[in-house]
Symmetry: C2
Subunit: 160 residues, 2 copies
């Protein structure tokens, strides 16, 4: 199709396809990530829900129970400015409540409100369905291998 035209136009130079790039792990990851994010954002958008970042924060707070901004930053490796602003927005929506930590006045302890929990629950089904659809395309060993590989790389990043 396109390639024929291109090749003929330039005298049949050998076309090195992106298969070469495919060997390069970080490229593959970047492309995959772009696609997954776009898909997730589309699902959330279709539900009239929050941004992907807000969804992740909703999930993080839900998972961690009570937490603080900097714990989220450490665990998720998000930028603290970004998290600060996103949390402000989420408090504006009534999803998150911050109360001062009596033991450390720099801290605010974050928790989901019941509205936040409701919203999280509402979105969880479709998001899980999406995840399950992806997971289904992998065999058990493939899934395990993928997660193991991710863990190994992250461990390598922790060293130096």
């Amino acid at each position: 199709m396109l390639d024929e035209k291109r090749n003929s136009a330039r005298g049949n130079a050998p076309v090195r396809r992106l298969a070469d790039l495919d060997g390069v792990l970080t490229f593959r990851l970047a492309r995959l990530q772009n696609r997954l994010n776009a898909q997730a954002a589309a699902v959330l958008g279709g539900l009239g829900g929050p941004s992907l970042t807000q969804w992740r924060l909703l999930t993080a707070i839900h998972t961690l129970g009570e937490t603080t901004l900097s714990e989220i930053v450490r665990e998720l490796r998000f930028d603290k400015g970004q998290v600060s602003r996103a949390l402000t927005a989420m408090m504006g929506r009534g999803w998150v409540l911050a109360r001062p930590d009596p033991d450390d006045q720099r801290r605010q302890i974050l928790a989901l409100t019941s509205a936040g929990i409701t919203e999280h629950t509402r979105l969880l089904g479709p998001m899980r369905a999406r995840q399950a659809a992806l997971a289904k395309s992998l065999s058990g060993p493939e899934q395990a291998g993928l997660l193991a590989g991710i863990s190994a790389i992250e461990a390598a990043l922790d060293d130096p």
Copy 2:
């Protein structure tokens, strides 16, 4: 450390750690991706080089030989506005040359200039070294499993 304080402050509620989130594939991928991008950008920055996006475009054009904007968009899943602007910048730096496609006047055929190739070559060593350091932390089967997993997910994204 932190957790003790937090727990005692709120009455030893069980702390569900992010280990729970770790099961969620897309979270793991997102976090990994964040860290890898930050590392790559740091390496490029240290070399006085281009942005990560420009580096990827440099590599893509180098790999594809001659190509077009929309082919890059299709293969890499970048936004075409983003690519258009990045290419303008790279032409300004003299790394990329665009010439009209005689067969299709909408198209511009992109190629690296010799300065572009030089720049790509200069950065390739350190970037490969980084990649090799990461790859070294994985066994052969782990690497293969990781790439297979990525491919399987991308295949699943192609279906629906």
